[in-house]
Amino acid sequence: MTAHLTRSLLYLDGVTVSFDGFKALRELSLTVAPGEMRAIIGPNGAGKTTMMDVITGKTRPDKGHVLFEGDIDLTRLDEAEIAGLGIGRKFQKPTVFESQTVEDNLILALQAPRRVASNLTWSVGEAAARRIDDILETTRLAAVRERRAGSLSHGQKQWLEIGMLLAQEPKLLLVDEPVAGMTDAETAETARLLKEIAQHHSVVVVEHDMSFVAELGVQVTVLHEGSVLAEGSLDKVSADERVIEVYLGR
């Protein structure tokens, strides 16, 4: 048991969350290894976003354990503390700071002291400037760095948010529906971007789009009614009787 814990980056065990009697998560257990990229799929209401909320401190589980790096209990920490540990989150609806420039969005996300006093005098140093340039390159946003984030296209906002995740230099990235509302070309580009990121980070991707998940080519966990229904490669889970039943209906 202990050996198993120390090997996992993220460990969820028996997590239950209920809202007014409705069980959004029931006895959910899940493990993500360091360096792994994992795709989470499941129909609407399967508990994908609630799971993200539990990991990032937005929602407290009724019971169960959520451990990070083996021994850090995430259920006792708040959003800012969890972000400080190195867990970054991209939201389903792209949430960037619309009235500020693309560059300022990255500056806000950049790994740096988060205290009030430090930010009174903080300015972009050489290393930070290089890091921002790199991220703008990776996310193909270099040409729009001076533009207000609110004026970006939907796809560009998604990439900016992924760029902000990178700027945080997290150990674990939680990415909620990164290709929702994207064109096919944008979807392909996002898959490329995530695969590039997964070379150096652990990533959990929640997604509806099966062709996108196939493109990622990673281990898949299928959620249904708040718990794990199946786990394995996409080919394996899509052959699973119960998965077909859940997705296609009786």
């Binding site: 990032t56 937005k58 708040d78 959003e79 800012a80 972000a83 400080g84 970054g88 989150r89 939201f91 949430t95 960037v96 700071f97 619309e98 009235s99 500020q100 300022d104 500056i107 806000l108 996300a109 988060r114 205290r115 009030v116 930010n119 009174l120 005098t121 903080w122 300015s123 193909r140 040409a143 729009v144 533009r147 207000r148 609110g150 004026s151 970006l152 296209s153 796809g155 560009q156 902000m164 945080q168 064109t183 070309a185 944008e186 392909a188 580009e189």
Partner: protein, 390 residues
């Protein structure tokens, strides 16, 4: 936008500061040096009235810092303003000494009238200007810190926060109405004689107070401008636009809010302290909830999130109020004010200054806060089509 040669204040701020500097020198000169009959002479009453507007302008800048940049709609800034005013009033009362009606060397008249025999403990040190000056900042700052610490930690936001700030100023008004509080009750404090040994009523003292108010407004503006242009300012704007997202980036939102709320309260207190000697009275009506709402209208009219616009709005609305309430239209002032707020909200959402800057700006170069303009959208299309090739 290109980096301007005006440093962090920008061309607009530089113009504002230049105007203030000119006013700080010319208005007192026109009052003291020019003979009363001269066409350019500024009467002491007019100068004090202008000084009052500038105090309101500083208060509006302070409010804009929290509302315009951090999204905290405080409907209780009148309380901080009044507390600064009371701290100054207590000093001025102590300066009266034995010249009061009852001739008591240490007790203000209202305490003698209440048969008090000694000063309450919290009046200790208010005969010393440095202590009073410190309390001008500390009293409102401490209230804002404690209030903010509880409210922001409990994540009270939006309309709920606005309501409890209203409740705060109303509660203070009721408290200060009571004679037992030791702040002069309903009548407040008045009949001031000296400030730092200079007679309060003298033209030269009034002129100096006017100049000091200009300097305080300029300094307050510079402080706020420095804050909002730092990285801290970016965090504040981010909190205004998407508070929970800022938390997931690892910032302690409540600490930022408490910090900026406290700074803002200190500036409001300073404005109140400069207001009292120029007006000659401080009483609990300064805590009235309606006053705090009026302040929000000044900022909205001038242009939220611009600092300069807030100052401009305070001066414009109060000048209009003076014109209105000194004529036959006096009864209708509140209708006019309400109407102004509705008109500004509907037709000038970025205030007078925001609208003026939009007009001056060439097309296709949007001000932060604008919707996307046609040009950037065209660029987006080109980029999207280029993606599959990469």
């Amino acid at each position: 936008m290109r980096a301007s040669s005006f440093g962090f204040v920008g061309p607009l701020g530089a113009g504002f500061l230049a105007l203030l500097a000119i006013a700080a020198i010319l208005v007192p000169l026109a009052n003291l040096a020019l003979p009363v009959g001269s066409a350019l002479h500024v009467s002491t009453a007019a100068m004090s009235l202008a000084g009052k507007y500038l105090c309101y302008a500083l208060l509006a800048v302070a409010l804009d810092l929290v509302w315009g940049y951090c999204g905290i709609l405080s409907l209780g800034h009148g309380a901080f303003f009044a507390l600064g005013g009371y701290a100054m009033g207590m000093y001025l009362m102590r300066q009266i000494g034995s010249r009061g009606v009852y001739g008591n060397p240490s007790l203000p008249d209202f305490m003698v009238f209440l048969n008090w025999t000694k000063l309450p403990w919290y009046w200790t040190g208010f005969d010393l200007f440095p202590v009073a000056a410190l309390m001008v900042l500390v009293a409102p700052g401490l209230l804002a810190f404690v209030f903010g610490w509880f409210a922001f930690r409990s994540r009270v936001t939006g309309v709920y926060l606005s309501i409890i700030t209203q409740a705060m100023t109303y509660a203070l008004q009721l408290a200060f109405f009571r004679n037992d509080m030791g702040f002069g009750g309903n009548n407040g404090m008045t009949d001031f004689k000296d400030v730092l040994g200079f007679p309060v009523q003298a033209d030269a003292t009034r002129a100096a107070l006017f100049t000091i108010t200009c300097v305080a407004l300029g300094g307050g503006y510079l402080l706020c401008r420095a804050l909002v242009t730092s990285k801290l300012g970016k965090v504040l704007i981010a909190i205004r636009d998407a508070e929970s997202r800022v938390r997931f980036l690892g910032y302690r939102v409540e600490n930022y809010k408490v910090f900026v709320f406290t700074i803002s309260a200190c500036l409001a207190g300073l404005a109140g302290a400069l207001y009292v000697p120029q007006i000659g009275i401080i009483n609990p009506s300064e805590f009235a909830p309606g006053n705090s709402i009026e302040m929000v209208i000044w900022v909205a009219v001038g242009g939220r999130g611009t600092l300069v616009g807030a100052a401009l709005g305070a001066i414009l609305v109060n000048y209009a109020k003076t014109l209105f309430t000194s004529g036959a239209m006096a009864e209708y002032w509140l209708f006019a004010l309400g109407g102004l707020f509705v008109v500004v909200t509907l037709f000038l959402p970025k205030g007078v200054l925001g609208a003026a800057m939009d007009r001056l700006r060439p097309r296709g170069e949007p001000l932060p806060g604008n919707g996307p303009s046609p040009q950037p959208l065209a660029t987006t299309t080109v980029e999207e089509t280029s993606i599959p090739a990469s």
